[in-house]
């Protein structure tokens, strides 16, 4: 870096919010370049750009190609293991299934999702299905308080995504790519075979003093339900794009198609997506530039019940191996003995569930260079999404006593319902249709100014305002008596109910608004000292007049140590120290939570007709305000030689005034239908951690390059306080009607697991009698629990003997990737590891007839047989209360992706009138090293922060083998 030149580059980068930067960027994006990030890399930060050198915050950035390469349809899943401190865990491996993104840990039991901006447009994480990773140019994750430029929405971090753009004076560059893959389940559970099942169940019933169900236990392996439920499913994707530019304009136009079937359900769990994109930038005059982005997405997703009782996989795991899938008459078997387990094959066949999304996202941005050092930018963003959903529910009989039955008998007779005195209607097959739409409108206006203060000092200022509005509305209804019990007539318009009787008709609407002003001042001296201050003022309609407005300040600075005269190191090319502290907010609660509204449920029956009245919904709290996160970051960036880059961050992040809905006294009367306690601000959470990122590259010869990246993060999460009078907030439940397994409690991580601790197995009655701790009802072979409170007895009806059993939050997350290129062949490998977290095994139905995992073969069978597994028995026992027996080590190392590619030599390509052609073979999720017994240790949450790590039989991520090509001409 030539010192004199630095200032110019720095100031340029700051001003040219729109056009100068893409040129800089695109230089690095073509082909398979593994050229290192340099400190001159341009970063898109809030309302402007910066360079890696001058940026005073903690961030991580990523090129689009490293996401695209994985052939994963969602940005969040593709981000896993790529950025230190950003933890991605999978809520569902089904096509189109979501992940949870956590930047620097969990800060609240409410909404922990970061703010995601695509070309400045707010995407929520649910909307990420719509984004085609092939359209992404770059990603920048703001991890520390410098995200505070986004104020009240920045507390969980900010992910800034930029889509691809063209280059000036470039001929059209065409690119076509595609791949085809086959997916399979990476893992099946070890369940009992029919013989093992019969033997164990006989023993279980005998121990319970009941008749043994199987006279003959020689039943062979029986039905392996998993073999039928899991199938090989295809995935296919095509993308085409053209980009280029004239002297005045640039363009990038792309289209994409993606179609993935599910390894469970095939077409019943399918995700299809069509994407279109136009980026167009033009110089309207010498000092006026227009930048325009348009993204269109059409999605179709079908889905099966997932997670927990009622899901296809839960039914698969617990179905009896002794029952065939179909009986001799070809009818699906009923699995009669367990009421809430139904035949998973019958379930898939009778599930019809679709959602269609149309999404239009765009931006029109006008930048006016008033003076060479002053730019005035005005932009208008919109994000419109229309979501249609349809569920067809045919008349089905899954067997006697099944809650999922829609018919009243196996002849598929419908039930009768009295809709008015003496008027009965058949409740035949039904269809539920809903429509919702969301419209975000956002206008932003800001100045970027830079000034040379002389004496090697410079000042950059960004000042602006932002006005944001989101509206949403929803309408749904259910029509009955669909003709012929057939999906072909699955539309409300086809219903045959008398008078077109509709049920479950409902609607909602909301509007939310955000008004913001922001100021950022960056001062630099001698290209070595950088200080930046951010001040944002936000007003949010989510909060009441008493607490609607907030200030969000941030101060950060960095020192480029290596540019000091005293710094003499040949090895260290550049060294920088950064520090930041600031406050940001989280306003992600439902609208109008501060007001007491009459939206509770006050419904009763008069004259046999359901009548609706009113009731108070949530109790009001006019003082409700946002959560605030106070974050400190200390970091360093080092470049060693030309080969190694290192970034190290230490952070302390304290979130205060958590948006909290504590339990309140029953006499406040908030326990009726649709009534809730008020949301209040209370509770503190801290996250402390260290993050390391390493980049290494090695170019021994022009035709031989090797690079690798490593990132790792260590995180400690702790609840610092709960509201006065509240010991803990209970979280997810274990088992059926069972105990609470997770809590939000002071001194522990968010959502830690709490229950009894197993201390061996009682071997004999004498041992039970002699035990100093009385455990009511214990028999030989039962778990012996630890007397945590030391009162000489195990209390099953209160919390006194429950204790910490582990945390769902990984202590360490690691990512590793390497790229190797020799002549025309390239190889890349990506690994991800999450270590130190626990998982609750909650997919076992603790019921006499349900199938079991094969560890039950090692059950207690008599004195001395085992001290690890309890006996089996249908009698009353306490072996299925939530204990550490059901908590497993969830640590894993996963080979996320391996790819081998071949590039057609340039001269051959030219002969074929091509710029280049690459063909490759790629495998995702080929190998996982873990002790976890379940399908997949990479699990998120089935419901909020307090259900993290509770495995209800999640839809696992597929193993995927792909063949693909990339053609440029």
């Amino acid at each position: 870096m030539i010192k004199g030149l630095y200032k110019k580059v720095w100031m340029l980068a700051g001003i040219s919010a729109a056009l100068a930067a893409p040129n800089t960027l695109s230089a690095q994006t073509s082909g398979e370049s593994i050229e290192s990030d340099t400190i001159e890399e341009v970063l898109v930060v809030g309302y402007g750009r910066s360079t890696k050198k001058e940026f005073t915050g903690a961030n991580s950035s990523l090129k689009g190609q490293s996401l695209e390469k994985l052939n994963i349809p969602r940005l969040d899943q593709a981000l896993q293991g790529q950025i230190a401190g950003v933890t991605i865990s999978t809520n569902s491996g089904s096509p189109g299934g979501a992940s949870q993104i956590r930047i620097r840990g969990l800060s609240t039991f409410g909404d922990n999702d970061p703010l995601i901006l695509v070309d400045g447009v707010v995407y929520d994480s649910e909307g990420l299905n719509a984004l085609n990773p092939a359209d992404i140019e770059s990603i920048n994750v703001l991890k520390d308080a410098t995200a505070g430029i986004y104020g009240v929405r920045a507390a969980n971090g900010v992910i800034i995504v930029e889509t691809k753009r063209g280059k000036f004076n470039a001929v059209p560059k065409w690119e076509v790519s595609g791949f085809y893959g086959l997916q399979q389940t990476a893992n099946k559970l070890n369940l009992l075979t029919a013989t093992e099942y019969a033997v164990l169940k006989n023993e279980m019933f005998a121990n319970g003093g009941q008749t043994m169900p199987f006279n003959n236990t020689a039943l062979g392996t029986g039905t392996n339900w998993q073999d039928s439920v899991f199938q090989t499913a295809p995935v296919v994707s095509y993308n085409a794009s053209v980009s280029g530019g004239t002297a005045q304009s640039t363009y990038s136009i792309a289209g994409g198609y993606y179609d993935q079937m599910g390894i469970v359900g095939l077409d019943k769990a399918r995700f299809k997506r069509l994407n279109g994109r136009v980026n167009f930038d033009t110089k309207m005059s010498d000092n006026l530039r227009l930048s325009s982005v348009f993204l269109y997405t059409n999605e179709q997703r079908s889905g099966l019940p997932e997670n927990g009782i009622g899901s296809v996989l839960y039914n698969t795991i617990n179905a009896f191996p002794t029952d065939p899938i179909r009986d001799q008459n070809g009818r699906y078997t009923y699995l009669e003995e367990v009421a809430d387990i139904i035949n998973p094959m019958a379930q898939m066949e009778n599930t019809y569930n679709w959602a269609w999304v149309n999404k239009f996202v765009g931006k029109e941005e006008l930048a006016w260079d008033i003076k060479p050092n002053l730019t005035f930018t005005n932009r208008f963003n919109y994000n419109f999404a229309s979501v249609d959903a349809k569920v067809f529910s045919p008349l089905v009989w899954f067997g006697p006593g099944k809650a999922q039955n829609t018919a009243i008998n196996e002849n598929l007779d419908p039930s009768l319902v009295e809709i008015a005195p003496g008027t009965f209607i058949d409740r035949g097959a039904s269809v539920t249709e809903s429509h919702s739409s969301f419209t975000d409108l956002n206008y932003e206006s800001f100045f970027n100014h830079s000034k040379d203060l002389g004496g090697n000092q410079a000042l950059k200022t960004t000042l602006g305002v932002s006005i944001f509005q989101r509206r949403g509305d929803y309408l749904s209804g259910t029509g009955y008596n669909i003709p012929n019990n057939s999906v072909e007539y699955a539309d409300i318009s086809a219903n045959l109910a008398p008078g077109g009787f509709l049920n479950n008709v409902s609607s909602w609407q909301f509007t939310e608004r955000l008004l913001s002003g922001f100021l950022r001042t960056e001062y630099s001296r001698s290209g070595k000292y950088f200080v930046s201050g951010i001040l944002r003022r936000d007003g949010s309609s989510k909060f009441g007049p008493n607490a609607r407005w907030g200030w969000f300040p941030t101060l950060s600075g960095s020192w480029l140590l290596s540019d000091e005269d005293f710094f003499h190191s040949k090895a260290i090319r550049s060294a920088k120290i950064r520090m930041s502290y600031g406050v940001s907010g989280n306003d992600q609660i439902e609208n109008f939570a501060y007001r007491g509204l009459l939206n509770g449920e006050g419904v009763y029956v008069f004259n046999d007709i359901i009548v609706s009245g009113v009731a108070i919904g949530r109790a009001s709290n006019p003082d409700l305000k946002w959560e605030s996160t106070h974050q400190f970051n200390l970091g360093t960036d080092l470049s060693v030689g030309r080969q190694l880059d290192l970034t190290l961050n230490y952070f302390m992040k304290n979130t205060r005034d958590l948006l909290f809905q504590p339990d309140v006294s029953g006499i406040l009367g908030t326990s009726g239908a649709g009534s809730y306690p008020p949301i209040i601000n209370a509770g503190d959470v801290s996250n402390t951690g260290v993050e390391l990122e390493l980049q290494y590259r090695f170019i021994p010869r022009p035709d031989w390059t090797w690079s690798m990246g490593f990132n790792g993060a260590v995180l400690k999460n702790e609840v610092k306080s709960t509201p006065e009078g509240v010991d803990f907030i209970p979280g997810a439940a274990f088992g059926v009607g069972g105990n609470i397994a997770t809590r939000f409690e002071m001194g522990f991580p968010i959502g830690y697991f709490v229950g009894y601790q197993v201390d061996g197995v009682f071997q004999t009655q004498d041992e039970i009698d002699a035990s100093p701790v009385k455990q009511a009802g214990a028999k030989p072979g039962d778990f012996r629990y630890k007397d945590i409170d030391g009162d000489g007895k195990i209390s099953f009806s209160d919390n006194s003997d429950k204790t910490y059993l582990g945390s769902p939050i990984p202590k360490v997350t690691l990512g590793y990737n390497t790229n190797f290129k020799y002549k025309n062949v390239d190889v890349s490998i990506q690994l991800y590891a999450a270590l130190g977290q626990k998982i609750v095994r909650n997919y076992e139905r603790q019921q006499p007839y349900a199938n079991m995992l094969d560890y039950n073969i090692r059950r207690w069978t008599g004195p001395g047989s085992t001290n690890e597994y309890a006996r089996l028995g249908t009698d009353l026992n306490r072996n299925a209360v939530f204990s550490d027996f059901y908590v497993e080590d969830g640590s894993f190392v996963r080979l996320r992706n391996v790819q081998i590619g071949y590039n057609l030599p340039a001269e051959k390509a030219a002969r074929l009138h091509m710029q280049g052609l690459r063909v490759y073979m790629s495998g995702n999720n080929l190998f996982t090293l873990t002790n976890y017994m379940g399908f997949d240790p990479d699990i998120g949450s089935a419901g909020g922060a307090l259900a993290s790590g509770v495995d209800y039989g999640f839809y696992p991520q597929a193993r995927n083998l792909m063949l693909g090509f990339n053609l440029r001409f």
Partner: protein, 491 residues
Amino acid sequence: MKKFAIALLALGLSMTQVGCEKFLDVAPPYTQDADNFFNTPVDYERALIGAYDLLQGSFMSTWIGEIASDNSIAGGESVTDSEGLHEIDAMSHDAVNDDLRKVFRWNYAGITRVNYIMEHKDKLDFQGKDEILGQARFLRAFYYFELVKFFGDVPLVVDKRLGSSEATLYDRAPASEVYAQIESDLSFAVSTLDWTAAEKGRITKGAALSLLGKVYLYQDKFDLAAATFKQVIDQNQYKLISDYKKIFTVANEGHSETVFDVEYSGAEGGSYGCMICLEGNASPGFQGIRQYNGPVYGDGNSYNLPTQNLFDAFAANDPRRDASILDIDDFISKQANPSAITYAKGGGGHTGFYNNKYIKKQGEIGLPDNDLTSPVNYKVIRYADVLLMAAEANARKGGADEALARTYLNQVRTRAGLANSSASGQALVEAIWAERRLELSGEGHRFFDLVRTGQAKDAIDGFVVGKHELFPIPQVEIDLAGGKWIQNPNY
């Protein structure tokens, strides 16, 4: 340049600060604020429906009223499923009990919805307001009566809503004060309501008088009770129906024996996620035959199973035995093809008997999950109960009117096809109590009858005198109200 920056700053700040409050003051569309309501008579009526809603949670009280007594066991899938009910069954319950907590919270939710109306009772005057307030005050009396029966002294909140920090200001009010409030509310209801209501399911003067009589009886105010029940009986509004079996069917709802029903509908689905949101009756499904596959009945969860002791209490020729208790194996053996009929025994206990009054039957099945959505109404007070309460009050009052007591008692016995009783003195009182058990078994009264008549310690295994007359106030409720409420004795 400096000037320019300052101008920018001023512009930015003024945009966010001034005149933008309006932009952010977004009103929730199509809903109303709680504090800007009661502007029309319809508003009062709609708030009243909200107050009625909590009646539908009575299934929990009725289960406990049976399971705690000698009439039934908890049952269900396992002892850890609905653990609270199993503990009550075994008289081992303590202050950590989810089911008792539901009783506590749901009844206060109902009271709060009435208090919301009463808080605004003077905002608008219109014809028919007294009838609305009469129904509302009846409901408040009903909810407080449930609380005082279960817990004894309870905080008395009247005519106002509490802010989130106000719970700590309330101590447990003596049961006598709670009863005084109940009597006052019911007297108002009696004075404002008619004997008949325009809609089935509305509270009537007869319901208010009957509940008032019951409230007197629970306080051993026998003279007042007798006089109150006399008003109901002399009105000739109600009659016993001839066929005991038909009292509990959907088809026969609203019959002449109905004094006060909780109304249910099967036309709205429901789930375990919110038991208080149900519009259907959860009892028939919960009390249904586990995984039953056969004629007449539907499948259910095998809760609240009658005991052999109850079965044996009936004379073999008493038609109420089989109408009240289903002997499942006997029933199956009498069907056309017994071997094709199957059912399962729950891990929570099995007696071979099911509650035949409130049980899932074919033709009375609501929407999914139909274990929770039965359209069968719950009979809170029916005329046979009124007659037996009247008989008891007359037999126990100072200067007992035994002839009248026997007349009432024998009306009930005659309907059951049994011979008249000619007992007198204590034998008459005990005959009335015995008749109550047989006539009203499975309807949620037994435990409270045993307690108020002093029979509980002999009838219930594990019952501790001086402790189990009342249930414990849920510990978490004590904590949430600031921890100063004194727990009921011996818990």
